[in-house]
């Protein structure tokens, strides 16, 4: 557990008198390359795991039966990618943690997923806006990983990018249908885009030392998203708000509830196998 290095820098800590004083300096040594790689893989794994959990919440609640099947498919793809990535992360860490140890026995502050995926499902439009942004990020990400020097990541990327391409098609189609459907669906889809729009920013924050620098994905992301929104007769929101923190383990209030549900049974039976 000591492998996690807080990267938020020195923080101001409130004192009893209400004034603030500088927090004691955390002086982490430059992270080991393996630790850095572990954190990177864990971030992608947690994105996929939390996305799968949210999509699985739709099961039996879809707007039509075919959509129930499609959302389950996408959830299964995300879960499959999460398992491969978590397993690899556990190996990189070298502390004997397998996919279940990482999924079920970490608290929210140790999760490294982006905020986008943990947001509640909202209505179907919000879910599709979230999926559009996630897939528009994952397609170029996995494509880049498929060509990277890390063999394991390359293999995972090669498999996952095909799945993500389908997720992107599916979300794009729905965003167009809803945006250019009825007055009500247009209103809901625009509201969903407005709500979710600020969140992908966190995913595209530059990190030149990562196996794939997220900044290099921005051009692809922007062009896909803007063409879908245009076709869908939707407007790009204007905001300078850029919520972030997920990659450093500082989440929204929603994640802890999501994990409470995900982990409840596993944690109630320590050491049991299933």
């Amino acid at each position: 557990m000591t492998a996690y290095v807080e990267q938020t820098g020195p923080r101001a800590v409130p004192t009893a008198s209400g004034t603030t004083s500088a927090a004691p300096e955390l002086t982490p040594a430059a992270p080991e390359p393996v630790t850095k790689r572990f954190e990177f893989v864990l971030g992608l794994a947690d994105d996929a795991l939390v996305a799968a959990q949210r999509l699985a919440e739709w099961c039996t609640r879809g707007p039509e039966m075919e959509e129930d099947i499609a959302l389950s498919n996408i959830a299964l793809d995300q879960l499959g990618a999460a398992r491969l990535l978590l397993t690899y992360a556990g190996e990189l860490e070298g502390a004997g943690r397998d996919e279940d140890a990482l999924a079920y026995r970490r608290d929210d502050r140790e999760f490294r997923n982006c905020l986008l995926v943990e947001l509640p499902n909202g209505d179907f439009a919000v879910t599709m806006a979230k999926l559009l942004f996630l897939a528009a990020y994952q397609v170029p990400l996995y494509t880049a990983l498929a060509g990277c020097g890390d063999e394991r990541l390359a293999a995972i990327g090669a498999k996952a990018r095909k799945e993500s391409a389908y997720h992107l098609d599916h979300a794009s189609l729905w965003v167009r249908r809803l945006g250019d459907g009825t007055d009500e669906s247009h209103r809901r889809m625009q509201a969903a885009v407005d709500e979710v729009w600020p969140y992908p920013h966190e995913l595209l924050t530059p990190d030149p030392t990562a196996p794939v620098d997220p900044a290099t994905l921005r051009a692809d992301f922007d062009s896909v998203v803007s063409s879908v929104l245009t076709e869908a007769t939707l407007t790009v929101p204007e905001t300078s708000w850029t919520p972030a923190g997920g990659r450093n383990g500082v989440h929204t209030e929603h994640l802890s509830y999501l994990l409470a549900e995900l982990q409840v049974l596993h944690r109630a039976h320590p050491g049991a196998s299933w």
């Binding site: 039509e64 039966m65 129930d68 049974l265």
Partner: protein, 356 residues
Amino acid sequence: MYGNDFPADDTSSGLLGEVEAAEMALREAAERGRHGAAGADPAAYFTEVIAADQKVEPRDWMPESYRATLIRQIAQHAHSEIIGMQPEGNWITRAPSLKRKAILLAKVQDEAGHGLYLYAAAETLGVSRDELVDLLLAGRQKYSSIFNYPTLSWADMGTIGWLVDGAAIVNQVPLCRCSYGPYARAMIRICKEESFHQRQGYEILHTLAHGTPAQREMAQDSVNRWWYPSLAMFGPPDTDSTHSAQSMAWKIKRFSNDELRQRFVDMCVGQAEVLGLTLPDPALCWNDERGAYDFTQPDYAELMRVIKGAGPCNRQRMEHRRRSHREGAWVRSAAAAYAAKQASKKEQASRKERVA
């Protein structure tokens, strides 16, 4: 594929063998071709097709009551698949390992697929899926009463696979030879998937029964709760069953409720022994004379109450389905509006082309 690292059991692979035999018979009947044509007396021809163990197809003449019986039965079966997603869907987000989560999600997704094949089979009889769904939501058509019981523990995912899917297979394998072609073909496909469901459920229970004391207790409690409702899945005893005789004559049904129930009990006893779990029936014992197990019948008065709406979850299941349907209405209208816009755009474009 789903795990199978538990002792193979001959009974359920025997059932899968029956599914394959039915599939073969279906192919042979198709190759044989049907003798003659409907000609002047379609009713006599219908009787001949049934007698020759061949399949009635959608365009053939059929008695109205045959059509109505099939619609009722196939619709009820389709509704059961869709409502049946709920009790298991209840544990997807809490599944105790990622592997189990994936298997359960895939299973519940399979059930949605079964619902779709069955609605499609019903549509060949001249009724639309939308009409059938409306009948379900209005409470005018039923679904299997088993899904009106709650899933209170993870072990219920095992027990539902083992007993509920198991009972469904015993019920459905003979339907693979049903006289109505589209239903028989849908059942062959469904039975193959159900047998995987049964195996994965059995495996969950096997793991729990050989796990910690708390897991073992969870497994036994679950079997205690589901045993009698599973026996009731075969319907009322033959003495009270209203639809059976005509359905047997039409080869829609091939065995009576009690015959199938007996077959299920005989299959489960050995499997329970391997699991190391107890079936909650002190009267269960082998009867040498009959070559079958004697067992306590389920409480048919309870079955009737649950069918009439007084089970623990009837209201919850129906409200859940109605809510999903209602909350999806704006999405379905948007898809329809979008498709209409796209179609008219296409038409305009091709008109312009013709003018130019």
